[in-house]
């Protein structure tokens, strides 16, 4: 068993409430979301539909709406909501001392597949 | 706390009576006549049409009415009142929405000693102004009050208006900065009870009862919250404030007193939706024989009940 490593991806204050920012990795981008109640979530940035950038969507409750075709994705599960089917990968994320930490696995995700 | 309870002075309010509508007529439905038997007997044989006499006027106008002299007025029982020594009266109609439930009438007797105040404040241009009030011997305080107005949230009337909740204020005249405190202190006024008045025309009015130490309106005041949104059911009430010359503070943050409908005089107000005024009532707190309980409606439901004991 590996212990969980957390990686600091940036300051919590750098993301507005009901907003998102992108984190680049060698395997593509991750979107980091902050909700109205200051929870953070990390998901693959590409919408399962046409790879729309989820970090550019509108955040409402614990969901984000893709800016390209209005697919609604749950920030908690990564699953498309409603009639649409599909999912994006999610990564454990948390806030500590004003910094956003994401579980290190996100950097190695494609290598692990 | 138990000083000055057993004074031999006569009470500020001598008579409290309740009138109920039956069709288009108000009939007497109980009261506490304080031993003024002749006046009680005449009242039992009197009735009022809407607009007639003091209770009928309160019904017709849809708000409390203060009457400070009976002679030559619309007051119907002037002779009997005069014989009983009664000189002023305040009628408080109790409306549930547009429906009149009852009219509570209190009658007082002027002399040089008895002070206290029963005031009606109504909104005008965004402020509460004094509509009218009965002050007994507190003439200077009456003058001050006529020249005072309250914005929302300020003072006892403004606080009641803003919160739409009865409020019981302590030590009106001492260190606590009741707006009219200086004059109130000189008049010996100590405890103030403010009530939001439900008017069928939707206008805002606040009634205040200001009690003086020497000639108190009552020795015990209680405020009960009966809103379902606060106490969970339409048939119970919780005491949110109260002060008693014998027991001291009645409120409790941790274990508030709770009653159900028809339990004691407060329960009777809650169950019937009508005010009560009883003399020598059973089941009162130790040392008390008389009680007045008044329901405060918000819309068609009772929101609060206030009570005073002597």
């Amino acid at each position: 068993m590996m212990t969980t490593d957390w990686i600091d991806v940036g300051a919590f204050d750098a993301i507005p409430a009901r907003g998102a920012r992108m984190v680049r990795t060698p395997q593509g981008c991750i979107a980091v979301f902050r909700t109205a109640t200051d929870e953070v979530f990390a998901l693959d940035n590409a919408c399962p539909h046409k790879k729309g950038p989820l970090a550019d969507g509108i955040v409402h409750g614990n969901k984000v709406t893709c800016p390209l075709h209005n697919w609604v994705i749950s920030l908690e599960t990564g699953l498309a909501q409603g009639a649409d089917e599909g999912a994006v990968e999610t990564y454990p994320a948390r806030v500590e001392n004003g910094r956003i930490l994401i579980e290190a696995a996100f950097l190695k995700r494609q290598a692990a597949e | 706390m138990d000083t000055a309870v057993e004074q031999a002075t006569r009470p500020f309010i001598e008579v409290t009576e309740i009138w109920r509508p039956e069709g288009d007529t108000l009939v007497q439905a109980g009261g506490n006549y304080g031993g003024l038997d002749a006046f009680e007997a005449i009242s039992g044989h009197t009735s009022f049409k809407k607009g007639e006499g003091l209770p009928g006027k309160a019904w017709a106008e849809g708000r409390p009415v203060v009457l400070k002299a009976f002679d030559g007025s619309y007051f119907k029982r002037t002779e009997a009142a005069k014989e009983a020594g009664l000189t002023a009266a305040v009628a408080i109609p109790v409306f549930a929405g547009e429906e009149l439930k009852a009219v509570l009438v209190v009658l007082c007797s002027d002399d040089d000693i008895r002070t206290g105040a029963i005031e009606l404040w109504s909104e005008k241009d965004g402020y509460l102004m004094l509509d009218d009030g009965y002050y007994g011997a507190a003439k200077h305080f009456e003058w001050v009050s006529q020249h005072t107005h309250f914005p929302k949230g300020q003072g006892l009337p403004g606080g009641v208006w803003a919160s739409q909740t009865p409020i019981l204020m302590r030590d009106l005249g001492s260190g606590y900065r009741f707006i009219r405190s200086e004059s109130a202190g000189k008049a010996g006024l100590t405890t103030g009870l403010g009530l939001p008045i439900a008017r069928p025309d939707g206008e805002n009015s606040v009634l205040t009862l200001l009690s003086a130490r020497g000639t108190p309106i009552a020795h015990r005041f209680e405020i009960w919250d009966a809103r379902a949104a606060k106490v969970g059911s339409a048939n119970s009430a919780v005491m949110i404030d109260g002060i008693c010359d014998r027991e001291g503070p009645l409120w409790s943050e941790d274990n508030p007193r709770r009653i159900s409908a028809w339990q004691g005089p407060i329960g009777q107000v809650l169950g019937s939706g009508l005010p009560v005024a009883q003399k020598s009532a059973p089941g009162l707190p130790a040392g008390y024989s008389d009680v007045v309980g008044l329901p405060i409606y918000r819309g068609s439901a009772i929101a609060h009940i206030v009570a005073w004991y002597s």
Binding site: I58, P67 | L156, G159, D171, F178, K230
Partner: protein
Amino acid sequence: MQKLVVIGAGMASGRMLEHMFEADPQAYEVTLFNAEPRGNYNRIMLSPVLSGEKSYEEIVTHDDAWYADNAVTCRFGERITGIDRDRKVVISEKGETPYDKLVIGTGSAPFIIPCPGHDLPGVVAFRDLEDVDAMKTAAGSDGRAVVIGGGLLGLEAAAALRLQGMEVTVLHLMGHLMERQLDEAAGYLLKKDLEGRGITVLTGASTKAIMGEGRVEKVVLEDGTVIPADIVVMAVGIRPSVALGQAAGLEMGRAIKVDAQMVTSDPDVLAVGECVEFDGNLFGLVAPLYDQARVAAKTLLGEDDVFRMRELSTKLKVTGCDLFSAGDFADGEGREDIVFRDPGRGIYKRLVIEDDVVLGAVFYGDTADSNWYFGLIKDKTDISEMRDTLIFGPAYQGGAQVDPMAAVAALPPDAEICGCNGVCKSTITEAIGAGATDLGSLRATTKASASCGTCTGLVEQLLAVTLGEDFRSKEAGICGCTDLTHEEVRRLIKARELKSQTAVWQELGWKTVDGCHVCRPAINFYLLADWPLEYQDDLQSRFINERKHANIQKDGTFSVMPRMWGGITNPAELRAIADAADKYNVPTVKVTGGQRIDLLGVKSEDLPHIWADLNAAGMVSGHAYSKGLRTVKTCVGTDHCRFGTQDSTGLGIKLEKALWGSWTPHKVKLAVSGCPRNCAEATCKDVGVICVDSGYQIGVAGAAGMDVKETERLADVPTEQEAIDLTIAFVQLYRENAKYLDRPYKWVAKVGLDWVKERVVHDLDNRAALIERFAISQSVYQKDPWAEHAATKTDAYTPLSDFRLEAAE
């Protein structure tokens, strides 16, 4: 008998003594020191004492008789200056007092913001009776108080001072009141309630300095606002008073560390109350202090007990203000909200649920069942069986549906329902009372909804509310968050003066916590269009192209298009565009149908830089991405064309300069043709001007998209100024009335051209008023977003971090 010394006669140590004397009155000979010259009183009831709703005598917990009955030696007003643990004595001004066991209950001290002027006379805290007396002395019927801190204590102080007759302003640093205990919606209702008491509440207010000659005179905020003040109450928080414990060498964290038996690092020294730290936690609310008191009493008596952290609940002691919060109510992974709003009664209830357990609750206006919910939270009760009806409380037995009419029923009688004809709610309900039972008869008697018709839905709802029959509007609601239509929401925003999204969600009974991608952009637009000065535009409620001021392309890159006023450019601008295209590797450069040049395929992080470059060449955003003014297409007009009748290019530039930057329900495109040959294709635009010898023909409501439609003639005017005025008035009328995402031609089809003409052409006062309101809006919104974002918001366009290189190494 063993000697017990207690330092501090507070609520925790007082309760501890009660427990101890109850269990064994003979266990200790007690000496009680208190720096305050009095015994124990119920500190959490200080605010009603301040307001006059309680007297000090009523909140005394232990009077002289109690101390005498329990043989407590009271040394009140005597400050302890040191503890000698080796000799087991406490040291005071009057000498030494020995102990076998010592309990420290020194409590906490208010936190004072160290801003300039914090030590001026007139700055008071709100912690003890001295503070209350100081405030009461300062309070006067004409006094002004500023309360810094919109938490529990600050708000209780504010309400109490208001009741005492002061003018009160609350300054709160965060975005909503009591942010630790309440969510945004409940914070909004609380603010509204306090404002209803005449208290001014400023959120997001940062205190810069307190100023005055010799005593407090005013408070100055970071944004320059100056608030006059006779007293300033600091209620921003507390910090444990631990100097004694620290000097005595006890183990410290942020406060005196205790174990679960309330024993410090010295086995003969206990500590209770706000001066202790247990398991990393500090304490400010009374419930855990009473638990500590119970445990400490047991420990002193040699019995076993353990202190545990428990869930806490909050209530605010302001008469008539009913709120409750408990547990953890932040959103989170796997968590689900249940929201109930009843705007008519000002009720908001929210439960947060995870794995069939209630984690947190926030209630406003209806706290009847708060204890029941608090029990569910504390006991972690499985609620799967009652999930559907949970929000309705323990008594719920089916029934009691949320009333979709609540928002309309809650309207005050003087609320204007029909803006066209100035008809208010009471006029309509009176007409219904007088026998009008359908829309037709109401229109005939009151004229309500007889003009533009956008209030038809509201009038129908009033019929339904008043008559109790089902007049439900046939039109669907905006989205799943509300049953109200766009037109109804617009009308209600105006009639009820709703000036924030939180206000709209609560007062109109939104079914979700914070809307969705369908309603949020619409509400954001309605609010900024109706309240340009009061409402703060919310970027997070905008679609990405408006948030990033560039059109998102299907591959996630963006297009950049500078403005070319009236389609006129010059060599310098063209060079700058070419340089930018080279510098940022722009793959496609296109001439658009709107007479400008589009740079397609720009990466998000390059946007601020390319804008800065284009700004430097004098160009601003063309808003080619926005629901706002796009282009004003022109022909060359009299300057060059032999058929031209007027300066069409000049008018086009003037119109573009006047209108740019304004937000509209949908995009707006204009054109000005210099003669009826119409080279600028003005007859299929939202507003199209055709110049003729006698002046200007103004057409509106054309379309050349999915629908193709020729403009309709609004008016013919002789002068250029009138052409500009009519255009602006038309655009403002459209901004104020149209449904979000309706182009002008759709909106005009709904309200009718005559209705528009009446307001824009015939009623000159109204035309002037429209132009004035447009100018007010432009004073806020006519600014180049490129310059602003390139200067201050570049971060938003770059990744939060980049791990490509690190991982490759």
